[in-house]
C-alpha cells in the first residue's frame, strides 16, 4: 500500500490551521458554523443543568436519610485515638531553654486550649456529676433533647493548670506539661464501667532512662467515667473533654526522647498494628540546654 506521505510545508500547516479557526468561505469557527456552535453550547448547557439537578436531588435524598446527631455508622471509630497538646509538627515537642521563642508558641496554644476549662466557665455552663458513673441522658421521648456536660475544672490539672504559673506550664524551666486527650466518639462508653487511666513510658529502654520522672494530673492519670458518653456536637454543646496532664520533671537534656502514652481501659485496644494512634499516642520530647 502506498500512500504518498503528504509532506506539508510549515506555511501550509499554518494556512490550514487558520482556515480551521476561521473559515471565511463557510463562516465556520473551529469547524462549526455559528448556529452549530449555538446548538452545541445550548445542548451542553441543558445537559449539565439536568445533571446538576439530578446530582442535587440524589444528594438531597441521601442527606435526608442520615441523622443529625449521630452518623449512620461508627464502625471505623471502634477504638478512639489519643492525641497530645500542644499539637506540634510531627508531634515533636522541642523546648530550648535559652530561647523562649522555641516554646512560646506552645504556651500560647495551651493557654487557648485550656481557656474553656477555666473553673468559672465550667461552673457557669456545666453540671457537677457523680464521679465513677456514666452521665447518661436518655431522650426520654423528647427527640434530640439537648444534653448537659460534666465539669472538668482547670484546677484539676494541678501544677499543669497554668494558673498563676510563672513557669508557663513548666516550659521555661525545662519541666514541660504535655496534655493527653482521648478522641471523642459518639455514644462510646469508654472503660466499660471500670476505671481507666493513662500511663506513659519511654518507647525503648534508653528512652525510659532519659525520660526521668513525671507526675500526672489528675492523679494516676485517671479519666473519670462521668465524661462519657459523648452525644455529638449538635446536642452536647458544652461538652468538655477530659484531659490528663503529664509533667516531665527531669528529662535528660539535649536528647530526643520517644515517649508513648496509652490508655488502660477494658474496651480500648492499644495494640493495633496499622493504626499507631489507636488508644495510644507517641511523641518526641527534646529539651535543649546549651
Amino acid at each position: 500500500m502506498v500512500t504518498e506521505k503528504d509532506k506539508r510545508t510549515g506555511g501550509q500547516v499554518w494556512e490550514q490551521w487558520k482556515e480551521f479557526v476561521w473559515n471565511p468561505r463557510t463562516h465556520e469557527f473551529m469547524g462549526r458554523t455559528g448556529s452549530s456552535w449555538a446548538f452545541i453550547i445550548l445542548f451542553y448547557l441543558v445537559f449539565y443543568v439536568f445533571l446538576t439537578a439530578m446530582f442535587t436531588l440524589t444528594m438531597w435524598v441521601m442527606l435526608q436519610t442520615v441523622s443529625d446527631h449521630i452518623p449512620t455508622y461508627q464502625d471505623q471509630l471502634a477504638t478512639p485515638g489519643l492525641m497530645i497538646r500542644p499539637k506540634t509538627e510531627n508531634l515533636e515537642v522541642l523546648v530550648n531553654l535559652s530561647d523562649s521563642s522555641s516554646w512560646n508558641e506552645h504556651v500560647q496554644i495551651l493557654d487557648k486550649f485550656l481557656e474553656p476549662y477555666n473553673d468559672s466557665i465550667q461552673a457557669q455552663k456545666n453540671d457537677v456529676c457523680r464521679p465513677g458513673h456514666y452521665y447518661e441522658q436518655p431522650d426520654n421521648g423528647v427527640l434530640n433533647y439537648p444534653k448537659r456536660a460534666c465539669q472538668f475544672n482547670r484546677t484539676q490539672l494541678g501544677d499543669c493548670s497554668g494558673l498563676n504559673d510563672p513557669t508557663h506550664y513548666g516550659y521555661s524551666t525545662g519541666q514541660p506539661c504535655i496534655f493527653i486527650k482521648m478522641n471523642r466518639v459518639i455514644n462510646f462508653y469508654a472503660g466499660a464501667n471500670q476505671t481507666m487511666n493513662v500511663t506513659c513510658a519511654g518507647k525503648r529502654n534508653e528512652d525510659a532512662k532519659n525520660l526521668g520522672d513525671f507526675t500526672m494530673f489528675p492523679a494516676n492519670g485517671n479519666i473519670d467515667l462521668m465524661y462519657f458518653p459523648y452525644y455529638g456536637k449538635k446536642f452536647h454543646v458544652n461538652y468538655t473533654q477530659p484531659l490528663v496532664a503529664v509533667k516531665f520533671m527531669n528529662v535528660t537534656r539535649n536528647v530526643e526522647v520517644n515517649v508513648e502514652c496509652r490508655i488502660n481501659a477494658v474496651n480500648i485496644a492499644t495494640n493495633d498494628e496499622r493504626d499507631k494512634f489507636a488508644g495510644r499516642v507517641a511523641f518526641k520530647l527534646q529539651i535543649i540546654k546549651t
Partner: protein, 959 residues
C-alpha cells in the same frame, strides 16, 4: 564429491524465506508502542517521586515505588499479551507455508539417485515426468512430449511444450528452459540444472516481492490516530493541571504525583488487549469461513476494502474446462456447467448426437487416474490436458463408463494433437461385431475440421456441405466464440470395408488413410465456467459499494464473457465498443462517459499514461483487464490506490507477489496459490473462492463497527477516573479513587465486557453500506469522543461522586466539610480531625475511610459500566431491537465485572497496596439510578437519531 562442494558454495536449492523482523524487535515494539510509552513515562515519574521523597525522608511511603512497579508490570504484561496474540496468528501461517519436502531424480556418475530437491546443485542432470514439479531452473536436454504449466510464473494457463531447441534469446520465452516450481504436465524430459535457490527466476521475483514495502494497515492507522487523541488529551490535561497545582501552591512533588494520576486515568490500559483479542476472535471466525488471516490487522482492512482486483481463473471460475455448448443439427444446445453437474438435459435423441458422442468419447487421450471409483465424476483426477479432461468428464456423465466403451472400440492408430495439424485423429474398430468397418474420428480447430469435410450430418443423415450449412456453421462458430468459449469441431468417417479390411495396417507417418471428405458432425465449446456462488457475491459487493475489477491473462473476449456471466459487467451496461457497435459509429466517436464498463487489454494498458489510467479507473465502474501480465497487475493496483481506494488483490502466481504486497490486502489462493504468493499475501483463501472474500469483508466491517463500540465503552470510564483527580486538586477533597483501583477497572472489570462487544451482531445490513472513506470515516471520530467523554463519562463521574459522598456522609463527614479539607485530611500528625458530628479521627481511621471511598467509587463506576456495556451494544438501534440477550458474552462480561468487584471488596483487596475495603451491601446500589439514567438517555439519543436522520442531532450524536 563435486556435488557436495558446489552445494557448500551455493547453498541449498531452496528459496530463502523473506527477512523476518527478529522476534525481540517485535516484542520490544509491543513494549513501547501506543500507550506503553505514556505508561513508561508514568512509571519513571513514580520512581522519581519516590527518590525525591526518599532523599528527604528515609522512611518515605513506598506507595510511589509500588505504583511504578505495577505500571511496569502492566506495560510488560499487555506487551507480552499482544506479542503472544500476534505470534499465535503468524504461527498458523508459518505451518501452512512449510514446503513439503520434494525429491528429485538425479543422474550422478551415470547412476540414478532420488535425492531431496534442496540438495540439487548446478550441473546436475535431472529427470522429470508428468506430474512432477521442476526442482530447479533446468535446460532441457531431451524431451518426449513434455508440456509444462508456467501459469505460476507467467500467468498463462495454456500448457507449453518444452524441447531442447533455443527458440528465443530471452530465457523466459525460450522453449528449452524449465523453471523452478512450475509443473510438468505430461511427457518426460531430462535437463541440466542451471540455477538453484534464490538465483532461479522465481527466486529473483520472490526477492523482488520482499523488497516492495508494506505499509501500515488502515486499522493500525486508525488506532494510531486514536492513541494520538487520547495521549494528547492526557498530556494536555496533565500539564494544565500540573500548572494549576503549582499555582495553588502544591508542592512540586505533589504536582508530579497528580500528573501521574491524570496520565493513568486517561490511558485505557486494557484497550490494546481488548482490541487484539477482538481481532483474533474475528480472525478465527474468518478462518472458519475459509479466510486465513496472517496479519491480525488485515481483518479490518478487508472490511474497508473499496476495490477488489480479482483474478479470473480459479477465483471467479471453477478453474477447469467444462463443456458449455454443443452445436449439431443446426442448433445450439446448452450444457450444465455447475460444479456438480449430475445430468445433462439437452435433447439427446438425435442420431447426430449418437455420432457426436462417439467421436467425443473416442477421439480423446485423457484418462481417469486409477483408484478413484468412489469419487464423484467431477472430482476425479484426470491425466491429460484441460480440454480433453473436460470432454472425458462430459462423456462420462452423459454416457457412463467411457473406459469400458473405449475398450470395445479398440483404438487402431492415432495422431495426437499438435500445433501444426491443429487436429487430433484416431481410428477405431467399431463395437458392432457385424460391422467390420473402421471408424475414423477427428477433432480440432473448427475451421480446419470443416476444411476436411465434404458432408455434414443433420438428424443422423449425411448431407452435402452446401453454402447454407457452411453459413450456419460460421454463425454458430462466431456465436460460441463470442461467448469467449473455446470451440472444437468434430467429424468422422466410416472407412469402406473393402479398401480397409480388418487386417489393414495403418501408418501414421505415411497417412495411408483418408483425411478429407469427412463428415462434419458438430461443434462443442468449452469454457472455464464461473463458480456458482460468484454472481451473488459480486452483487453483494456492488451493493456494498465495492468495485470489482477483473484482472486476467486471458483473451479479452473470454474475460468479458465471464465478467458478464458473473455480473462484473452487469447485464445492462455497455463498453465503448458495445456502444459503437449498437450505434454503428466508429469507436473514437463514442462518448466515453456513456460507457459504464470497460475492457482493457494489456497492450492498451501498456500505452496508457498514469493519468489515463486514473481517468479510466475513475470513470468506469465495471472494468476488466485482459491479457495482462502479472507485472501490470502492480500498475493497476497502484492506479487504484491513487484513487484513495483500499485495494484487495487476489493472486496465486509467483509473479503476483509484488502486487499482493503492494495491495492494502493481498489475498493468496490456498489451493492454487504458489508459496511465494502465500508468503507475500496478508490473507489466504483456503477454498480459492471469490465469495469467501465477500464473507470476509462482512466480518471486517462488523469488527470495525464493534471496535468503535469497544473503544466508546472503554473511553467512557476514563473520564470517571480522571474527574476525581481534577476535583481533588481544585476542591481539595480527599482523593475519591486511587491509582490502583483505576488499574483494576481498566485491566480487571472492564476487560471481558469490552471483548464481549466483539461478538455483537451487526445492527443492520452492513453490506448495504458504502465502504468507509479512509480519511473521513474514522474509527474514533469527534462524535464518539465527545459523547463518551463529555456526556456519558461526566454522567458516570457524577454517579461516582454520589457514591463517594454517600460513604463519607454515613461515616460522619458531610460533603460541605470535605471541601478543602485535604491539607488537614492528609496531615500525618493530625490524629484528632473532627468530623461533622464532633467525633475525632486518627490518620489511619481517615485513611481507611478514604479506601472505603475508593471502593465505593470503584463499585459505582463498575455498576455504571454495566449500563455502559449494554448501551454500547448498538449505536443506532434500540438495545431491545438488537436483542438484550442475543449476545450471551455480554452477560458473561457483566457477571465478570460483578464477580471481580465482589472479590476485591470482600477481603482479597484488603491486602496492602491494593487498598480495597469491604463495602456494605446497600452502597453497591447507590449508583444504580445513574446507571438507569445512562441507559434511558442513550435510548433517547438513539431514538432521535433514528427518527431524524440527517438532523443536527444525528450529526452530533451518532458516532
Amino acid at each position: 564429491m563435486r556435488a557436495a562442494e558446489i552445494l557448500a558454495r551455493d547453498g541449498p536449492n531452496v528459496l530463502s524465506p523473506p527477512k523476518e523482523t527478529p522476534e525481540i524487535i517485535k516484542f520490544l515494539k509491543q513494549m513501547i508502542g501506543g500507550f506503553s510509552s505514556l505508561l513508561w513515562a508514568g512509571a519513571v515519574l513514580c520512581f522519581i517521586a519516590y527518590l525525591i521523597e526518599f532523599s528527604k525522608d528515609k522512611s518515605a511511603s513506598l506507595d510511589n515505588l509500588y505504583l511504578g512497579g505495577v505500571l511496569i508490570v502492566v506495560v510488560i504484561l499487555t506487551g507480552m499479551f499482544a506479542y503472544y496474540q500476534e505470534a499465535k496468528s503468524t504461527n498458523i501461517i508459518a505451518s501452512f507455508t512449510k514446503m513439503i519436502p520434494r525429491n528429485a531424480l538425479v543422474i550422478r556418475n551415470g547412476e540414478k539417485y532420488e535425492i531431496p530437491a534442496e540438495h540439487l546443485v548446478l550441473g546436475d542432470i535431472v529427470e522429470i515426468k508428468g506430474g512432477d514439479q521442476i526442482p530447479a531452473d533446468i535446460r532441457i536436454l531431451t524431451s518426449q512430449g513434455c508440456k509444462v504449466d508456467n501459469s505460476s510464473l507467467t500467468g498463462e494457463s495454456e500448457p507449453q511444450f518444452r524441447s531442447c531447441e533455443v527458440t528465443h534469446e530471452n530465457p523466459l520465452e525460450s522453449k528449452n528452459i524449465g523453471f523452478y516450481s512450475t509443473t510438468c504436465l505430461e511427457g518426460t524430459a531430462t535437463g541440466m540444472v542451471i540455477n538453484t535457490g534464490d538465483r532461479t527466476v522465481i527466486g529473483r521475483i520472490a526477492s523482488l516481492a520482499s523488497s516492495v514495502g508494506h505499509e501500515k494497515t488502515p486499522i493500525a492507522i486508525e488506532i494510531e490516530h486514536f492513541v494520538h487523541i487520547v495521549a494528547g488529551v492526557a498530556v494536555s490535561i496533565g500539564i494544565v493541571f500540573f500548572i494549576i497545582a503549582i499555582c495553588m501552591k502544591y508542592r512540586v512533588l505533589d504536582a508530579v504525583i497528580f500528573l501521574i494520576g491524570i496520565i493513568l486515568a486517561n490511558v485505557p490500559e486494557g484497550l490494546v488487549a481488548a482490541v487484539t483479542v477482538s481481532l483474533s476472535l474475528t480472525a478465527k471466525r474468518m478462518a472458519k469461513k475459509n479466510c486465513l488471516v496472517k496479519n491480525l490487522e488485515a481483518v479490518e482492512t478487508l472490511g474497508s476494502t473499496s476495490i477488489i482486483c480479482s483474478d479470473k481463473t480459479g477465483t471467479l471460475t471453477q478453474n477447469r474446462m467444462t463443456v458449455a455448448h454443443l452445436w449439431f443439427d443446426n442448433e445450439i444446445y446448452q450444457a450444465d456447467t455447475s460444479e456438480n453437474q449430475k445430468d445433462q438435459i439437452f435433447d439427446q435423441s438425435s442420431a447426430t448426437w449418437t455420432s457426436l458422442s462417439k467421436i467425443v468419447m473416442l477421439c480423446n487421450r485423457a484418462e481417469f487416474k486409477s483408484g478413484q471409483e468412489s469419487v464423484p465424476i467431477m472430482k476425479k483426477i484426470v491425466m491429460g490436458d484441460a480440454s480433453e479432461a473436460a470432454l472425458l468428464k462430459f462423456s462420462e456423465v452423459v454416457m457412463g463408463d467411457v473406459i469400458e466403451r473405449r475398450k470395445k472400440n479398440r483404438k487402431v492408430v492415432e495422431i495426437p494433437f499438435n500445433s501444426v495439424n491443429k487436429f487430433q485423429l484416431s481410428i477405431h474398430e467399431t463395437d458392432d461385431p457385424n460391422d467390420k468397418r473402421f471408424l475414423l474420428v477427428m477433432k480440432g480447430a473448427p475451421e480446419r475440421i470443416l476444411e476436411k469435410c465434404s458432408t455434414i450430418m443433420i438428424n443422423g443423415q449425411e448431407q452435402p456441405l452446401d453454402e447454407s450449412s457452411v453459413k450456419a456453421f460460421q454463425d454458430a462458430y462466431m456465436e460460441l466464440g463470442g461467448l469467449g468459449e473455446r470451440v472444437l469441431g468434430f467429424c468422422h468417417l466410416y472407412l469402406p470395408e473393402d479398401e480397409f479390411p480388418d487386417n489393414y495396417s495403418f501408418d501414421v507417418e505415411s497417412m495411408n488413410f483418408p483425411t478429407s471428405d469427412l463428415c462434419f458432425v458438430g461443434l462443442i465449446s468449452l469454457i472455464d465456467p464461473p463458480r456458482s456462488t460468484v454472481p451473488d457475491a459480486v452483487i453483494k459487493c456492488r451493493s456494498a459499494g465495492i468495485k470489482v475489477i477483473m484482472v486476467t491473462g486471458d483473451h479479452p473476449i473470454t474475460a468479458k464473457a465471464i465478467a458478464r456471466s458473473v455480473g462484473i459487467i452487469s447485464a445492462n451496461s455497455e463498453t465503448v465498443e458495445d456502444i459503437a457497435k449498437r450505434l454503428k459509429i466508429p469507436v473514437e466517436k463514442v462518448n466515453k462517459r456513456e460507457a459504464k464498463a470497460a475492457v482493457v487489454s494489456g497492450m492498451e494498458l501498456k500505452e496508457m499514461s498514469p493519468e489515463q489510467l486514473d481517468e479510466l479507473l475513475a470513470n468506469h465502474t465495471e472494468i476488466v483487464f485482459a491479457r495482462t501480465s502479472p507485472q501490470q497487475k502492480l500498475v493497476i493496483v497502484e492506479g487504484c490506490q491513487r484513487q484513495n481506494a483500499i485495494v484487495a488483490v487476489t493472486g496465486d502466481g509467483v509473479n503476483d507477489s509484488p502486487a499482493l504486497k503492494k495491495a492494502d490486502i493481498g489475498i493468496a489462493m490456498g489451493c492454487a496459490g504458489s508459496d511465494a504468493a502465500k508468503i507475500a499475501a496478508d490473507m489466504v483463501l483456503l477454498d480459492d473462492n471469490f465469495s469467501s472474500i465477500v464473507t470476509g469483508i462482512e466480518e471486517g466491517r462488523l469488527i470495525f463497527d464493534n471496535l468503535k463500540k469497544i473503544i466508546a465503552f472503554t473511553l467512557t470510564k476514563n473520564i470517571a477516573e480522571l474527574i476525581p483527580f481534577l476535583i481533588f486538586i481544585i476542591a481539595g477533597v480527599p482523593l475519591p479513587i486511587g491509582t490502583i483501583a483505576i488499574l483494576f477497572i481498566d485491566l480487571g472489570t472492564d476487560i471481558i465486557p469490552s471483548i464481549a462487544l466483539a461478538y455483537e451482531k451487526a445492527e443492520s445490513d452492513i453490506m448495504n453500506r458504502k465502504p468507509r472513506h479512509k480519511k473521513k470515516d474514522r474509527l474514533v471520530n469527534h462524535q464518539l469522543a465527545l459523547y463518551s467523554y463529555l456526556q456519558i463519562g461526566i454522567l458516570q463521574s457524577v454517579g461516582g461522586f454520589f457514591a463517594y459522598f454517600t460513604v463519607y456522609t454515613v461515616q460522619g463527614f458531610k460533603p460541605d466539610l470535605l471541601l478543602y479539607l485535604r491539607p488537614l485530611w492528609e496531615n500525618d500528625s493530625l490524629n484528632d480531625l473532627e468530623d461533622s458530628y464532633g467525633q475525632e479521627w486518627t490518620k489511619y481511621q481517615r485513611q481507611y475511610l478514604e479506601w472505603t471511598g475508593y471502593t465505593a467509587y470503584f463499585v459505582a463506576v463498575m455498576v455504571q459500566q454495566i449500563a455502559d456495556v449494554i448501551i454500547r451494544k448498538t449505536r443506532i438501534n434500540s438495545v431491545f431491537q438488537q436483542g438484550l440477550f442475543r449476545n450471551k458474552y455480554i452477560w458473561v462480561g457483566i457477571a465478570s465485572q460483578i464477580i471481580i468487584a465482589v472479590i476485591l471488596s470482600s477481603g482479597f483487596g484488603s491486602i496492602p497496596v491494593l487498598n480495597f475495603t469491604t463495602l456494605r451491601i446497600q452502597y453497591w446500589f447507590v449508583a444504580v439510578p445513574y446507571a438507569i439514567v445512562i441507559w434511558l438517555y442513550d435510548e433517547f439519543r438513539k431514538l432521535l437519531v433514528r427518527h431524524y436522520p440527517g438532523s443536527w442531532w444525528d450529526k452530533t450524536m451518532y458516532y
